[in-house]
C-alpha cells in the first residue's frame, strides 16, 4: 500500500517549479535497501558548540524507532536537520536512497513525505479542528490550486476518518485554541496523518498528557506502526516500554549515538545507566 501512496504523491506533486519557486515532486521514494532515512556523520555546531557530533543513524521502512537521551543530547536538533529547519555543518541526510534532505526546505521535505510533531503542540489556534485537518491534507499546496480549491466528498471523508481516529469529531467546529492540551497533541498527530507521510517524527507526543490520554496515544502509535515509519523522541520510560516492544531504541548523548538496540539491552548498558538512567 505504500506504493499507492507513492503513486499519488508523484501525481499530486505536479511538475516542479511551475509556480516559480522550485518544488520537488518525489519521483517515487526508492526504499530498495529497506531503510527510509539515513543520517551519516551529521554535525551541527552553533558558534563552536556542537549540538550534533558526527551522528549516524538509519531507520527502516515501517519501523517504529524510539529515541531517548538526556536534555541537550541533540534530539530536537536532529529533527530540525531532518525537517530542513537547520542545515548541518557537515554530513549527509538522505530520505530513501535518492532524496538529499540537506538541499530542500521545510515545505519541500514535508511534501516529500516527512511529517513532524513538535514538542509543544503547535496547531493553528484560530482555525477550527476541521480547518486544521483540511490545511494539513495531502494535496497540491501551491498558490493557485489553493486559491481555487474546493473540498471534494472523498477529501471530506478522509477528514472524517481522521477525526474518528483522533476522537475529535465532537470538537470538529471548535477553534483549535480551545482544545485541551491532550486534544491538541492528538489534533497535531491527526494533521500529520492527513499529510500521509511515509516517515513521522514525533517529539515527546505524550508530554503533559493524563495517563488515560497517554494510554490512548500509545495505542494510536501502535496502530500506525507498519503503515508509516515512525521516529519517537520520548522521556517517559514507561511509555517507551509500552510502544517500543522489541523494536530498536537509540540513545543519544552529547550529539551522537551512545547505544542502540532493544530496550532491555539498552537499559542494561552501563554507559547508558551512567549518563541517563543512572540519575
Amino acid at each position: 500500500m505504500t506504493s499507492t501512496h507513492i503513486e499519488s504523491a508523484a501525481l499530486e506533486g505536479g511538475p516542479s517549479g511551475e509556480a516559480g519557486y522550485g518544488r520537488v515532486s518525489p519521483k517515487g521514494l526508492d526504499t530498495s535497501h529497506g531503510a527510509i532515512l539515513y543520517l551519516e556523520g551529521i554535525t551541527v555546531s552553533f558558534d563552536g558548540f556542537k549540538a550534533l557530533n558526527d551522528l549516524t543513524l538509519d531507520i527502516g521502512v515501517g519501523e517504529l524507532r524510539c529515541i531517548i537521551g538526556p536534555n541537550g543530547a541533540g534530539k530536537t536538533t536532529m529533527m530540525d536537520v531532518i525537517t530542513g529547519k537547520t542545515r548541518p555543518t557537515a554530513g549527509t541526510a538522505f530520505f530513501g536512497q535518492s532524496i538529499d534532505l540537506t538541499t530542500l526546505n521545510e515545505a519541500q521535505i514535508a511534501h516529500a513525505g516527512i511529517g513532524r510533531k513538535f514538542q509543544r503542540p503547535t496547531v493553528f489556534e484560530q482555525h477550527t479542528v476541521f480547518e486544521n485537518l483540511e490545511l494539513a491534507m495531502k494535496t497540491d499546496k501551491r498558490v493557485r490550486p489553493t486559491l481555487f480549491s474546493r473540498l471534494t466528498g472523498e477529501q471530506a471523508d478522509k477528514i472524517g476518518e481522521t477525526l474518528d481516529l483522533i476522537r475529535l469529531r465532537s470538537e470538529v467546529w471548535r477553534p483549535a485554541g480551545l482544545l485541551s492540551h491532550g486534544q491538541k497533541q492528538w489534533l497535531e498527530i491527526g494533521m500529520l496523518l492527513m499529510q500521509e507521510p511515509q516517515l513521522l517524527l514525533l517529539d515527546e507526543p505524550v508530554a503533559g498528557m493524563t495517563d488515560a490520554e497517554t494510554e490512548r496515544t500509545g495505542e494510536l502509535l501502535n496502530e500506525l506502526r507498519g503503515r508509516h515509519s515512525l521516529m519517537v523522541v520520548e522521556h517517559d520510560m514507561d511509555f517507551v516500554n509500552q510502544i517500543a516492544g522489541d523494536g530498536k531504541v537509540t540513545v543519544l548523548h552529547e550529539g551522537s549515538v551512545l547505544a542502540e538496540g532493544p530496550m532491555s539491552k539498552v537499559q542494561a548498558d552501563p554507559r547508558v545507566i551512567e549518563v541517563y538512567l543512572g540519575r
Partner: protein
C-alpha cells in the same frame, strides 16, 4: 449513518461569501452612498435634500482611503504582515494616473508648452523616457496596476525569501517609502518635486471640475470599493485565506505541513499593493493634487491606524475605520483647530488599549451581549 455525517461535514464546510443580512446591509450602504451625488445634482442648494458638493467630494476622498485601508487589512489583518509602506503604493498609483492628467492639460499650462510647467522651468525640452505613452489613458491605467504591483512583487520576493518578518519587515517598508519620498521630492526626478502634480484640467476630455465628472468619479470609486471588498472577501474565504491566517499564526508549522509561505505572502502582498495603487489613482483626480508627502511616514502609519480603529482582519472594519478617523479629523480640524491633535492622539491610544479588535470587534461584543440578555 457515518456516510451521511461525512457529507454534511462537507456541506457545513462550505460557507457563503456573506450571510444574507450582510448582503442586504452592504446593498443598503452602497445604495445610500450612490444616492448622494444625485441628491447633490438634482436638488438645488438650500433644498432640504440637497447634499453639498463638499460632502460628496469628501466622501469620494474617504472611499479612496477606505480602499487603501481594505488593501492594508488584507496583508496585516490576514497574513499578519504589517506594512508601513502602503502610502508608497497609494502614491505610485496616484502618480501614474497623475502623469496622464498632466499630459491631458495640454497647452493650457502657464507656459502654453506641451510639457508640464515644472519641466519647463527645469529647462527640459522633451519628456524623459519614463513619461512616454502616458498621454494614453489606457497606458496610464496599466501603469496604475503594474507599477505598484511589480514593485511590491520584487520587493516582497526578496524580503519574504530571506524570511524578514514582523517589525523588521515593517521598518524596511518604511525605509523604502522614505527613500521613495526623498526621490520624488527631487525636482530632477521629473515628477514635479514638492509641488507634485496639480491644476488638472480634464480627464478623457471631460472637464475635471464639472459636477457631472465629479459624480462619475465618485460612482467609479464606490464601485471599485465595493468590488475590492467582494474580491477581498472571496480571497479570505478561500482555502488560501485560511493558509494566510495560518501564516499569521504559526508560519513555521505551516512549512512543516508542506506549504511554502513565500508564494502565499507574495500573492496577497502584491494584490494589496495593486488595490492600494488603484485607490491612489482614484484619489488624485478627486483631490486635485498628488505630491510626495503622500509617501511620508505619517501617511502610511495613519493608514495602519484606520485599519486598527475599524478592526483588523474584518475587511468591513478598515472601511469603517477609514471613514471614522478621517471624518473625525475633518471635523476636529475645523471645530478645534488648536487642540485636535490631542483628541486624535488620545483616540489612537484608547483604541489600541481598549479596542484591540476595533469598532467592529466592539460591535460584535455588544451584539453578543444583546443575545445573552435575550436568552
Amino acid at each position: 449513518m457515518k456516510q451521511t455525517a461525512l457529507t454534511d461535514l462537507n456541506l457545513l464546510a462550505r460557507r457563503p461569501l456573506f450571510s444574507g443580512r450582510v448582503w442586504t446591509a452592504l446593498a443598503v450602504a452602497v445604495a445610500l452612498l450612490a444616492l448622494l451625488p444625485l441628491l447633490n445634482l438634482v436638488f438645488p442648494p438650500g433644498h432640504a435634500l440637497h447634499v453639498s458638493a463638499y460632502a460628496v467630494a469628501l466622501l469620494g476622498k474617504f472611499m479612496c482611503y477606505a480602499m487603501a485601508a481594505l488593501a492594508l487589512d488584507l496583508v496585516w489583518g490576514y497574513a499578519g504582515i504589517l506594512s508601513l509602506g502602503h502610502g508608497l503604493f497609494f502614491a505610485l498609483g496616484g502618480y501614474a494616473h497623475g502623469m496622464y492628467l498632466m499630459r491631458a492639460i495640454g497647452r493650457d499650462g502657464v507656459y502654453q508648452s506641451d510639457l508640464p510647467d515644472f519641466m519647463v522651468f527645469l529647462d527640459w525640452k522633451s519628456y524623459p523616457w519614463y513619461w512616454s505613452f502616458t498621454e494614453h489613458f489606457w497606458y496610464a491605467m496599466l501603469l496604475v496596476v503594474l507599477v505598484p504591483g511589480v514593485l511590491a512583487f520584487v520587493f516582497g520576493y526578496f524580503a519574504f525569501r530571506s524570511r524578514i518578518k514582523g517589525v523588521y519587515f515593517s521598518i524596511i517598508t518604511q525605509a523604502l517609502t522614505f527613500a521613495a519620498m526623498l526621490l520624488f521630492f527631487r525636482n530632477d526626478t521629473g515628477f514635479g518635486g514638492n509641488n507634485g502634480f496639480t491644476d488638472f484640467k480634464r480627464i478623457l476630455g471631460f472637464d475635471i471640475t464639472a459636477p457631472g465628472t465629479r459624480a462619475a468619479l465618485y460612482w467609479i470609486t464606490l464601485a471599485a470599493l465595493a468590488g475590492a471588498l467582494v474580491l477581498a472577501r472571496l480571497v479570505t474565504q478561500s482555502k488560501l485565506g485560511r493558509v494566510l491566517t495560518a501564516v499569521r499564526d504559526a508560519e513555521s508549522r505551516l512549512r512543516f505541513i508542506g506549504y511554502d509561505p513565500l508564494g502565499f505572502k507574495l500573492f496577497v502582498w502584491t494584490l494589496s499593493a495593486v488595490l492600494c495603487g488603484i485607490a491612489g489613482a482614484l484619489y488624485v483626480p478627486q483631490v486635485g493634487i498628488i505630491n510626495p508627502s503622500e509617501m511620508s511616514t505619517e501617511t502610511s502609519i495613519e493608514m495602519v491606524i484606520w485599519v486598527a480603529t475599524g478592526g483588523r482582519g474584518t475587511l468591513i472594519g478598515p472601511i469603517i475605520g477609514a471613514g471614522a478617523v478621517n471624518g473625525l479629523k475633518t471635523w476636529f480640524t475645523s471645530v478645534l483647530p488648536e487642540y485636535w491633535l490631542y483628541a486624535l492622539g488620545l483616540i489612537f491610544v484608547l483604541v489600541t488599549l481598549f479596542l484591540p479588535t476595533g469598532i467592529v470587534g466592539l460591535a460584535r461584543r455588544v451584539a453578543a451581549r444583546f443575545q445573552e440578555n435575550k436568552a
